[in-house]
C-alpha cells in the first residue's frame, strides 16, 4: 500500500468501492436478478421464475453450451501447442526472426476481432482450404484470437526460467528431445496451464469474430445471448449468460484440478 494514513486508506477504499460497485458488481447483480425474473416492469421484478434458467439449459441453448465448451477446449489446445512451440523456438532464433514472431503472434489482439472473423471468412470460403460452413472455421478463428495469450504467457514463463538448465541437461547426456520433454516443458507447466485457463476463458466469451463466421449448426453460447437480446428476449438472454458464466467457471476449475493432479502424480513418482 502506498497510502499509509488511516483516513487516506479509508478514502482510497471508498473511491475503489464507488468505481467498482456500479461498473462491475451492479451489471453482474442485475444479470443474476434478470435471470430469475418472471416479469420486470418497475424497479424490481414483479414476479420470480426458474423457467428462464430451465430454457437456457435445454434444447438449442444446451446445444450451444456444448458447442461453446468444445470450441473453447479445441481452440485452446491448438493455441497452446502452437503458442508454446513458437515461444520456445523464437527463444533460440536470430533476433530479427524473434522480433517478427513477436509481432505476428501479437497481431490477433492488435486488430479488431471482427477483422479476424472477416479475414477467416474470406480466406476459407473457397479452395484450397474450405472451412466455411463447418465448425472448424469457428475453432480456427478462436485459436487465432487466443494464440497471442498462449504465446505471451509461455514467453514470460521462459523469461523466468534459467536457460542454463538446458545446458545442465545436455551435460548430463540428454538429447534435444529429452531436454524438451523432461526439462523445458515440465518447468514451463505452470505457465502453460495459466495460458490454457486464459485461452479457455477468452474463447468462452468470444463473440466479435464468431458472429462473422459461425455456421447455423455451430452456434456458441455468446452468439445465442446476442441473438436472444437482439430479438428482445432480454430475460432469457440473462439466464443464458448466467449459464455461460457458471460453465466457464466450472471448466476453469476442472483445468486447475487437472493441474493439481499432474503435480501430485509427479510428486509421488
Amino acid at each position: 500500500m502506498l497510502v499509509w494514513s488511516r483516513s487516506g486508506r479509508a478514502f482510497v477504499w471508498a473511491l475503489f468501492a464507488l468505481v467498482f460497485a456500479p461498473l462491475v458488481l451492479a451489471p453482474l447483480a442485475i444479470l443474476g436478478i434478470a435471470a430469475f425474473a418472471g416479469d420486470w416492469n418497475s424497479v424490481l421484478p414483479a414476479s420470480w421464475t426458474s423457467e428462464n434458467i430451465r430454457e437456457a439449459t435445454a434444447g438449442t441453448n444446451y446445444d450451444s453450451l456444448v458447442v461453446s465448451i468444445e470450441t473453447a477446449l479445441g481452440a485452446s489446445l491448438i493455441a497452446i501447442v502452437v503458442g508454446t512451440w513458437a515461444a520456445i523456438a523464437a527463444r533460440t532464433a536470430p533476433r530479427f526472426v524473434r522480433r517478427l514472431t513477436d509481432a505476428v503472434f501479437h497481431l490477433p489482439v492488435a486488430v479488431p476481432s471482427v477483422v479476424v472473423g472477416l479475414g477467416m471468412l474470406v480466406a476459407f470460403s473457397d479452395g484450397p482450404i474450405l472451412l466455411n460452413g463447418t465448425k472448424w472455421i469457428v475453432i480456427a478463428a478462436h485459436a487465432v484470437l487466443v494464440v497471442t495469450f498462449a504465446y505471451s504467457t509461455v514467453s514470460a514463463g521462459l523469461d523466468r526460467t534459467d536457460a542454463a538448465f538446458a545446458d545442465v541437461a545436455a551435460s548430463l547426456g540428454a538429447s534435444a528431445a529429452r531436454v524438451l520433454l523432461r526439462v523445458r516443458l515440465p518447468m514451463l507447466l505452470p505457465s502453460i496451464t495459466a495460458a490454457a485457463s486464459l485461452a479457455i476463458a477468452l474463447s468462452m466469451g468470444e463473440v466479435g469474430a464468431t458472429i462473422m463466421v459461425y455456421p447455423a449448426e455451430w452456434r456458441t453460447l455468446p452468439v445465442s445471448v446476442f441473438t436472444l437480446t437482439d430479438r428482445g428476449k432480454v430475460l432469457l438472454g440473462s439466464a443464458v449468460t448466467v449459464v455461460l458464466l457458471v460453465a466457464t467457471l466450472i471448466v476453469l476449475l476442472l483445468v486447475g484440478l487437472l493441474k493439481g493432479r499432474v503435480e501430485e502424480r509427479k510428486r509421488r513418482r
Binding site: 534459467d162 542454463a164 538448465f165 545446458d167 545442465v168 541437461a169 545436455a170 551435460s171 548430463l172 547426456g173 540428454a174 538429447s175 529429452r178 523432461r182 526439462v183 515440465p186 518447468m187 507447466l189 509427479k266
Partner: protein
C-alpha cells in the same frame, strides 16, 4: 607455460608445452588446447591432467575461466586447438570434429548448482543415468547409492528448493558423478555458500574429489579453494595461462602481481647486479641468496616489512621512505598499503599502528631484511 622448479611428476607434464600434433602425455587423461575468440577477448590455454588429478583454474573475474569450462564441456565450440579425453579426440576444429555436450564423458557441477527445480534430489541424480538408457528402476537405485555416498540418503525425496546450499552442492556433485564421467568440471563450487558452511563443504568436496578416478578441473577465483582442492594450479589472466604449478610452488614463487596479491606477497622483478637486484627506476633490493640467473623475481611476505617513525639507526640495507596509502584489518594484524619508491604491503600489529600514529598520507620509513626476501629466476 614454462613452470618454475618442478616438485611433482604431475607438474612436469604441465610445464611442458604440448604442441598441437604431439601425442598426449596422458592417453587416459585430459589434453586440451582451448582457443575461443569472442569479440576482443581471446582465450588461449593449454590444459593437461592425469586421471585422478585435480587441477584448479584460478583467475580474476573475466579472465576466461568460465569460457574454458564451457569449451571443455562442449557448450562453447572451440575456434582452434583441440580437446582429447581418455584417449578419444572430442574436438578439433581443423578436422571439423566436434562432439556435442550430451555425447562427452564430462560431468559438470555448475555455479549455483542448477538442480532441476521440478525434480526431487533422487530424480536429479537419476537424470543422467536415464539419459544413458539405464532402466528407471536401476537408475533410481544407483542414484540412491550416490546420494548415500554424499550423505544425503534421507533427502532423496526432497525438492531442491528445500535443500541448504551445502546439500544442493552435494546433490549436484552426485548428479555429475553418477554418469561416471572421465572429466569432472566444477564451476566456482563454493562461491554460493556462506563463510561458515564453506569450510566444512570444502573439506567434504576435497574428500570426494580424492575418491574420483577421472580428471577434475575446478574453476575458482578464490586462492584458498584452489590451494585446498587442487593438486595443481593454472593461473589465468586475460585469457592466458600465466603460471602453472603445485599450490605450494605458486604460493612461494608468484610470477604476476595478481598471484602475488592472491597469496599475500610483495613481488618485484629486476636484474641481478653486484649482490643485489636492480628494480625499475634505479631502486635496489638486497637479497641474501641469489640464484644463478640474470632476470629474477623477488618476493617477501608483508610481515617481513618493519616500519619506523624516524630513520632507524644501524641502517638496514633495504630502506625506503614511503607514505601510508591505506589500511585494512586482517585477522589480528593490520595490512598497511604503502606507496613510494617501492610499493609495499606491510603487516603490523594494531599496537604498532597506534604507536606509529599510522594514517593515510603519513610518511614512514620501511625496512626489509635481506634474509627475508627470496629471489628466483624470472
Amino acid at each position: 607455460m614454462t613452470g618454475a622448479a618442478e616438485t611433482s611428476g604431475a607438474n612436469k607434464q604441465a610445464a611442458s608445452d604440448p604442441g598441437p600434433d604431439r601425442t598426449p602425455d596422458h592417453p587416459a587423461g585430459l589434453d586440451a588446447h582451448l582457443v575461443v575468440t569472442r569479440g576482443a577477448f581471446r582465450l588461449d590455454v593449454h590444459l593437461t591432467a592425469a586421471p585422478g588429478e585435480v587441477v584448479a583454474l584460478l583467475g580474476p573475474n573475466g579472465a576466461g575461466k568460465s569460457t574454458a569450462l564451457r569449451a571443455l564441456a562442449g557448450l562453447t565450440p572451440l575456434g582452434a586447438g583441440h580437446t582429447r579425453l581418455a584417449g578419444v579426440d572430442l574436438e578439433d576444429p581443423r578436422q571439423r570434429l566436434y562432439t556435442p555436450p550430451e555425447r562427452r564423458p564430462v560431468g559438470v557441477v555448475f555455479q549455483d548448482y542448477l538442480l532441476f527445480p521440478h525434480l526431487s534430489a533422487l530424480e536429479n541424480v537419476a537424470f543422467g543415468l536415464r539419459c544413458q538408457g539405464v532402466a528407471r528402476r536401476d537408475a533410481r537405485s544407483l542414484a540412491a547409492h550416490w546420494l548415500d555416498r554424499v550423505d544425503l540418503a534421507e533427502h532423496a525425496g526432497v525438492k531442491p528448493g528445500r535443500l541448504s546450499g551445502g546439500q544442493a552442492q552435494r546433490v549436484a556433485l552426485a548428479r555429475a558423478l553418477a554418469t561416471h564421467p572421465r572429466l569432472l568440471l566444477l564451476d566456482e563450487p563454493l562461491a554460493a555458500l556462506d563463510a561458515r558452511t564453506r569450510v566444512a563443504v570444502r573439506a567434504t568436496l576435497r574428500r570426494h574429489l580424492a575418491d574420483f578416478d577421472g580428471v577434475a578441473v575446478v574453476i575458482t577465483h578464490d586462492p584458498l579453494d584452489a590451494m585446498v582442492l587442487a593438486d595443481r594450479l593454472t593461473v589465468i589472466e586475460a585469457g592466458h595461462a600465466v603460471q602453472t604449478g603445485t599450490p605450494a610452488e605458486v604460493a612461494r614463487h608468484p610470477r604476476t602481481d595478481y598471484v602475488a596479491r592472491l597469496v599475500g606477497l610483495n613481488l618485484y622483478r629486476g636484474t641481478i647486479s653486484a649482490g643485489g637486484v636492480d628494480l625499475a627506476a634505479g631502486r635496489r633490493l638486497v637479497v641474501a641468496e641469489l640464484p644463478d640467473a640474470d632476470e629474477v623475481f623477488v618476493a617477501f611476505p608483508p610481515a617481513a616489512v618493519t616500519l619506523y617513525r624516524t630513520r632507524p639507526d644501524g641502517s638496514p640495507r633495504n630502506l625506503w621512505q614511503v607514505e601510508v596509502d591505506g589500511m585494512e584489518l586482517h585477522g589480528d594484524t593490520v595490512r598497511v598499503e604503502l606507496t613510494g619508491p617501492v610499493p609495499l604491503l606491510a603487516d603490523v600489529t594494531p599496537l604498532a599502528v597506534a604507536e606509529l600514529e599510522l594514517a593515510p598520507g603519513k610518511p614512514v620509513w620501511a625496512a626489509v631484511k635481506a634474509t627475508e626476501a627470496r629471489a628466483y629466476p624470472a
